[in-house]
C-alpha cells in the first residue's frame, strides 16, 4: 500500500484498502473556521429540530478552531459570527480556539503547522478546501463541507472513497530563483484544474527531499486547484524536526511500502523549472514569467495560507531590501508567530522601508471578502491560490498567481517580472 492507503486502512480499522473502496475512517483531528464554524452551527440547529442529539461532541480535544476569513470584522455580521463561534467552543469545551487579538492566531492551514495541530499519519479533516495543505506533514488531510464536519464532530468518523494516487517525482534541488509555487503552478498547468480530481497527489524524489517543510506545504496547498482529494509528502527527519521545534513528541511516521502502487507517475527536473504564473481566470492557465503578457499592475499581494509563510516573507524581503515598490503592495503574514519572527529578524523594516503596507493575518483579500479587495478592471499579482472571476474583488478585476519572489519583483517594476531580470 502507499502512504494514503495505509493511513486510511488504519483509520478504517482494516488490514488493507485499495482505490475505490469506500471506508468509514476514524478522524484524528478536525478543524473549522469562522466560515465553516457558523455553517456547522447551522447544521447542528437543523439536527436539533429533527430530534438528533447534538449535546456532546465525540471528542472536543481533537477539535480546533481558527478565526481567519472575516477577521478583523469589517461589519456586524462578521462580528456576530465570531461571537457565535466563541459561544460554540465554550459550550462544547473546545480549548484550542485561536482567537484574533489574543496572541497566536492566523490562517487555519498555517496554524495547522505552526502550532503542530496535525501529526504525520493523522486522518485530518477541515472545513476548508485548502485543508490539503497539511498533507505536507505526512497526514491524510482533506477538506469537507459543513454537513460532513458536523458529522465528524458528532461521530468521530466520516466516509471516504479511497483515492488512486498520482505520484509527482521532482529530481534535483530547485534553482534559487524558483520556488515551490512555480513547481505546483507548472504541474497544474500540465494536468489541468481537474487533472487531480478525486485523487491523491503525492510528491517525492530528491527535489522534495531537498525542500523545506514550508515549500512542501505550498505544493500540497495547491493540489486543491487541480481538484485533488488531498496532497501528501512522506514524512522525513525534516518534518520531525519542524514539529519537534513546535512542541510535538511521539511520532508515528507512516510511509508507503516499497511495492506501493501509483495510478500514474509524473517526473520533473528541477533544473528545468522556471518562475511561472497563472494568468486570469484559472490556476491552470499558466506560462513562464518571461513570456508573461505586458500588463500594468495595480497591486501586489503577498498573503494567504499558500504565500505568506516565513520563507515566503524571507523571499519577498530578499527582493525588496533597499528597493521601493512602484504599485500598491500589501504583505500579510499568515500567522502571528510568523509576523513576530518577521519583526525580530528585520523583515518588517525592509517591507516598510520599501513602502509596503503590512497587515494582520487574514483570508480577507484572497477571497475577495474585505481588507483590500480589487476594483473593476484592477490587475493584481498575488501569492494566493485562486484567480477565478471575482475571486479577489470585482468580477471584472484580474489576478495573476505567482511566487513571493515574482510578486515582490513585480511590485518593484509594476509589471510582471522574473526576479532574475530585476536591476
Amino acid at each position: 500500500m502507499n502512504i494514503v492507503e495505509k493511513i486510511l486502512a488504519r483509520g478504517a480499522g482494516k488490514t488493507s484498502v485499495s482505490p475505490d473502496d469506500v471506508v468509514f475512517a476514524k478522524v484524528d483531528k478536525v478543524m473549522m473556521h469562522d466560515v465553516s464554524g457558523p455553517g456547522v452551527i447551522k447544521v447542528f440547529d437543523k439536527l436539533k429540530k429533527q430530534g438528533i442529539s447534538v449535546d456532546k461532541l465525540w471528542d472536543s480535544s481533537k477539535v480546533w478552531v481558527a478565526e481567519d476569513h472575516f477577521v478583523p470584522s469589517a461589519e456586524k455580521v462578521s462580528a456576530e459570527n465570531i461571537v457565535k463561534l466563541s459561544n460554540f467552543t465554550k459550550n462544547y469545551g473546545i480549548e484550542k480556539h485561536f482567537k484574533y487579538g489574543m496572541g497566536q492566531y492566523g490562517i487555519c492551514h498555517t496554524i495547522s503547522h505552526e502550532e503542530a495541530m496535525v501529526m504525520p499519519g493523522d486522518v485530518y479533516v477541515g472545513g476548508d478546501s485548502h485543508t490539503n495543505t497539511t498533507g505536507a506533514l505526512g497526514a491524510f488531510a482533506c477538506g469537507l463541507g459543513h454537513t460532513d464536519i458536523a458529522y465528524v464532530l458528532l461521530n468521530g468518523q466520516i466516509w471516504f472513497k479511497v483515492p488512486e494516487t498520482y505520484y509527482f517525482k521532482l529530481n534535483g534541488k530547485l534553482p534559487d530563483h524558483v520556488m515551490a509555487k512555480d513547481v505546483i503552478l507548472k504541474i497544474i498547468g500540465e494536468i489541468g484544474n481537474d487533472g487531480g480530481a478525486y485523487r491523491t497527489m503525492q510528491f517525492g524524489g530528491s527535489g522534495i527531499d531537498e525542500m523545506s517543510v514550508e515549500s512542501r506545504l505550498t505544493l500540497c496547498n495547491m493540489t486543491t486547484e487541480a481538484g485533488a482529494k488531498n496532497g501528501i509528502v512522506e514524512p522525513d527527519q525534516k518534518v520531525v524536526d519542524y514539529l519537534s521545534q513546535r512542541g510535538a513528541t511521539n511520532f508515528n511516521l507512516i510511509k508507503g511500502d516499497e511495492d506501493a502502487e501509483y495510478a500514474k507517475v509524473f517526473e520533473f527536473e528541477s533544473s528545468e523549472m522556471e518562475p511561472t504564473i497563472a494568468k486570469p481566470f484559472s490556476p491552470d492557465n499558466t506560462c513562464i514569467v518571461r513570456e508573461a503578457p505586458s500588463v500594468e499592475l495595480d497591486k501586489s499581494y503577498i498573503g494567504s495560507c499558500t504565500g505568506a509563510k516565513y520563507e515566503d516573507l524571507e523571499a519577498a524581503a530578499r527582493i525588496l531590501k533597499g528597493r521601493k515598490v512602484k504599485i500598491r503592495t500589501e504583505i500579510l503574514p499568515a500567522a502571528i508567530s510568523i509576523y513576530q519572527r518577521a519583526m525580530e529578524n528585520g523583515l518588517l523594516k525592509i517591507f516598510l522601508d520599501a513602502g509596503v503596507t503590512v497587515g494582520p493575518p487574514t483570508c480577507g483579500a484572497c477571497c475577495g471578502a474585505h481588507m483590500g479587495v480589487l476594483a473593476k478592471d484592477e490587475i493584481c499579482i498575488s501569492t494566493t491560490n485562486r484567480n477565478f472571476p471575482g475571486r479577489m474583488g470585482h468580477v471584472e478585476s484580474q489576478t495573476y498567481l505567482a511566487s513571493p519572489l515574482v510578486a515582490a519583483a513585480s511590485a518593484v517594476t509594476g509589471k510582471i517580472t522574473d526576479p532574475r531580470d530585476l536591476k
Binding site: 469506500v22 468509514f24 466560515v35 465553516s36 457558523p38 455553517g39 452551527i41 447551522k42 447544521v43 439536527l47 429533527q50 438528533i52 476569513h69 472575516f70 455580521v77 462578521s78 459570527n81 472545513g127 476548508d128 478546501s129 485543508t131 477538506g143 469537507l144 463541507g145 459543513h146 454537513t147 460532513d148 458529522y151 466516509w159 472513497k161 484544474n193 481537474d194 480530481a197 478525486y198 481538484g227 482529494k229 484559472s282 477571497c367 475577495g368 471578502a369 474585505h370 479587495v373 485562486r386 477565478f388 472571476p389 471575482g390 475571486r391 468580477v395
Partner: protein, 163 residues
Amino acid sequence: MKGNVIKYDRDNIDTDVIIPGQYLKIHDYAELATHAMEGLDPDFHSKVKEGDFILSGKNFGSGSSREHAPIALSHSGIKAVLALSFARIFYRNSVDGAFLLPIEIGQDAYDGISEGDEINIDVSSNEIQNITKNQTYKMKPFSEIIGKIIAAGGLFKYKPDQD
C-alpha cells in the same frame, strides 16, 4: 423528477461564481439564495423557478469547500445539477447535506439539452428524458455509497452499520 433547464454552456463553474466570497459570512439560506450565481449570471435569481435544473460542462463546483454553494442553488429552487463532471467537495456536499442531486451526464445529453427544455430525470432507470425534444439520454449511475446516502435523505439519516 421533472423540470426546466437553465444551461451554462461552459466548463469550470467554480464556487466563487456560484456564491462570491463576500457572502460567506451569511448563513441564512434564503438570503444566500438571492446571491446564487451572481458571479456569472446576475439575472439568475429573477429567472430561476422552483424545480428547475442547471446544466453545465465539466468540473462543476470547483474551488472552495463552501457548502453555501449547493445551499444557495437548492434554496433558489434548483433540484439537480447536470454536468459532464463535478468537483469533489461540491459533489459530496450536495449529497451529504441532501441539497440537490448532482447528475453526471454524457456529451450526448450535454449537446442535446438546450436552455428551457423540459426534462425528466429518472434515477431508478438512470435515464433522462427530454420532453421538449423527445430524446432520451443515459446518466452515469450513482456509486453505491452515494445512492444509499441519497436514498436515506442525507448523511445523517444514513446508517452505515446496517449495511
